[in-house]
């Protein structure tokens, strides 16, 4: 027997400190970037300060998620940590034990099976995909996917190295920190929940965005060929989106909310235009959630969902598509029908 799955609850933890874009750009040695806020749509991002790191963001997002959930920590069957960054105690990057093991201990999820995955900005959606596999096959009843991204330290490296507006480190300035968690559960409702999820890795583009730890400085660095990766992502995603729509028996215009990975406003809008040309129709709304958070790596989709849930923008039975682009190049789509989770976030309609 195969079970259906649904997102049961979502939680978020954002760092306290805000860093606005003009303040960030003023640190550049050579003032070479104009209209950054206009192009990216990012006016500020949250950045970790003392006492905050990937671990604290993940743990507090998990606790926030549980506060909206029907589950107690002791009822969680599985925890998958999905972050790129695993900073604990500041900028100390943990390799072993798995982050999920420590999160389990911190939230008191005694019986949970744990492991970490890492799949660049596709991390949380990869976690959702794996959770769905385990739940559908009856191995577990629920799973918490969680990610805390302390990734803004990459900006520090970029600030020192950007000399022109063509720098490969320019995309680093879009990054912000944030934590998100979601509980995926077995659905009893035949109508709502996850309809389809599918991913592919187009490894011929794997060098277009690379990130690693610095050798001689704290934190990491990232280099991106933004133009090429954006073009590849849009072109290559059209057949994948078509396939996802076919498998869910939906047309593009029946998608009420399209939530792409949040990189920059101009990329999202130009992608939307190319989709319009390819599909001949457009989804209800395309969600852009960059203004106050920036690109928070693996957590962007869930930050956007959380914000719109709390703003009571979603309605039960609406079709939502989470569209994933991540370095690798990973392209994937998750389509789900919004369930009664909206009521737990205060929606009364």
């Amino acid at each position: 027997m195969e079970w259906r799955c649904q997102i049961e609850s979502i939680g978020v933890k954002m760092p306290v400190k805000r860093l606005n874009t003009s303040e960030l750009l003023s640190k550049l040695k050579v003032p070479c970037i104009k209209k950054f806020s206009l192009l990216t749509g990012i006016t500020e991002r949250r950045v970790c300060s003392s006492g905050e790191d990937s671990f604290s963001l993940a743990v507090n997002a998990a606790k926030d998620c549980l506060s909206f959930s029907r589950y107690t920590p002791g009822e969680i069957d599985m925890i998958i940590n999905c972050s790129i960054t695993k900073y604990k105690d500041g900028l100390s990057h943990l390799y072993e034990p798995a982050f999920a093991t420590l999160i389990k201990k911190a939230i008191g999820a005694e019986k949970a099976i744990t492991f970490d995955i890492s799949n660049a900005c596709a991390g949380m959606l990869t976690g959702l995909y794996l959770a769905e596999k385990f739940i559908k096959q009856g191995v577990i009843k629920n799973c918490m996917i969680v990610s805390g991204e302390y990734i803004s330290n990459i900006c520090d490296h970029a600030i020192k190295n950007i000399k022109t507006s063509l720098s490969s480190e320019l995309s680093s300035l879009t990054l912000g920190d944030g934590g998100a968690a979601a509980i995926i559960e077995r659905a009893n409702d035949e109508k709502n929940g996850i309809i389809v999820s599918g991913f592919t890795t187009l490894s011929e583009y794997c060098t277009l965005c690379t990130g690693r730890q610095n050798r001689n400085a704290p934190g990491g660095k990232m280099k991106t060929n933004a133009k090429k990766i954006h073009q590849a992502a849009i072109n290559e995603s059209v057949p994948i989106v078509k396939d996802a729509l076919n498998r869910s028996n939906l047309s593009f215009k029946q998608i009420d909310w399209l939530i792409p990975h949040q990189t920059s406003r101009s990329s999202i809008l130009s992608g939307a235009n190319q989709y319009l040309q390819s599909f001949g129709e457009k989804p209800g709304q395309i969600l852009v959630n960059l203004k106050e958070t920036g690109n928070t790596a693996s957590t962007t989709h869930f930050l956007a969902l959380y914000r719109y849930l709390n703003e009571k923008r979603f309605r039960e039975n609406e079709n939502v598509m989470l569209l994933c682009f991540a370095s690798g190049l990973i392209i994937g789509a998750v389509i789900f029908r919004m369930n009664n989770m909206v009521f737990r976030y205060g929606n009364i309609n």
């Binding site: 790129i84 034990p97 596999k133 690693r212 730890q213 370095s327």
Partner: protein
């Protein structure tokens, strides 16, 4: 009828004193595994990398994507054409238990007919040679291909046992060490293993093994072969003496202070694969131990 192991391959640096690059080593093991199994890279539905200590501490893309590209490129060289297929790849980290967690995920996808072939590739090497403290793992990589079989049950039961009370026994992280003036310094990989870690690993493994056997309705006498983790140092030897086993628990030759980490079970599997003990055994247990402390066990039936 079940998921079976189609092929296993391992790789070490070609020149002994070289410390190796985990990505190239793992890609070499993966390519060899595909070649020996007669499978094209684009036929892989899933590729999971479970190595932990990676070349230059690469964070993104996933190492699995880099391995996927290297094995696809090697295939292109051979055939003169390229088919990127529909492989989905990602990294999984679960300490020394990663290989078995990866096998469990792929097993579920194969038995539910979502994919035909899946590969778990794993490899470790010192990220920046010379920039680590107490890094005691061999540069080594392994790859295992799984596929569906109508003939044998293959993997039948997966269990994971966690002992979070021992989570402080083993930790590894990179920390910035200020060494020079003006705040200059290095990111150093520190591996911190308490002297009691091996004892706790053995204690947890034995307890978990008996719990697993009870649940599966088998006794230790029913098991023909145990393929265990090869780290921490001394783990296999103590398991053997505590369980009163001789050759049925696969142990690699003692290489001194350095041990095989995430690829250890693949090296142990390769040993019994080559001497045909694997195919001649009926009930086989894979037992992995990882920091946390986590114990993963599965039963494989030929």
């Amino acid at each position: 009828m079940g998921t079976l192991i189609k092929m296993v391959s391992v790789a070490r640096p070609r020149i002994n004193f070289l410390r190796g690059d985990s990505i190239n080593l793992t890609a070499r093991a993966a390519s060899q595994c595909l070649r020996e199994a007669g499978i094209d890279p684009h036929d892989l539905g899933i590729l999971i990398n479970t190595g932990i200590y990676r070349y230059k501490n690469t964070g993104e893309p996933a190492i699995a994507a880099l391995i996927q590209e290297k094995i696809a490129s090697r295939n292109t060289d051979r055939n003169g054409s390229r088919n990127s297929g529909n492989t989905f790849s990602f990294d999984l980290n679960n300490g020394g238990c990663g290989l078995l967690t990866g096998i469990e995920i792929i097993n579920r996808m194969i038995i539910h007919d979502e994919i035909s072939y899946g590969m778990i590739a794993t490899g470790d090497s010192e990220p920046f040679p010379g920039l680590s403290e107490e890094f005691s793992f061999n540069a080594a990589a392994g790859a295992v291909i799984l596929s569906y079989s109508n003939d044998s049950p293959g993997f039948s039961m997966f269990r994971t046992y966690n002992y979070p009370e021992y989570s402080g026994e083993f930790e590894s992280c990179t920390c910035f060490n200020k060494t020079g003036r003006n705040g200059t310094g290095r990111n150093i990989l520190k591996v911190m293993q308490k002297t009691s870690y091996t004892d706790f690993c053995v204690k947890c493994a034995v307890k978990s093994l008996y719990a697993f056997l009870d649940e599966s309705g088998k006794t230790l006498d029913d098991i023909d072969l145990i393929i265990p983790s090869q780290s921490p140092h001394g783990f296999t030897g103590r398991m053997k003496s505590l369980l009163g086993l001789k050759d049925s628990l696969v142990e690699l030759p003692d290489g001194g202070r350095k041990v095989f980490h995430t690829a250890g079970p693949a090296f142990a599997l390769k040993k019994v694969w080559d001497d045909k003990r694997f195919r001649n055994s009926k009930n086989i247990i894979f037992l992995t131990v990882g920091s946390g402390i986590s114990i993963s066990i599965t039963l494989y039936v030929n």
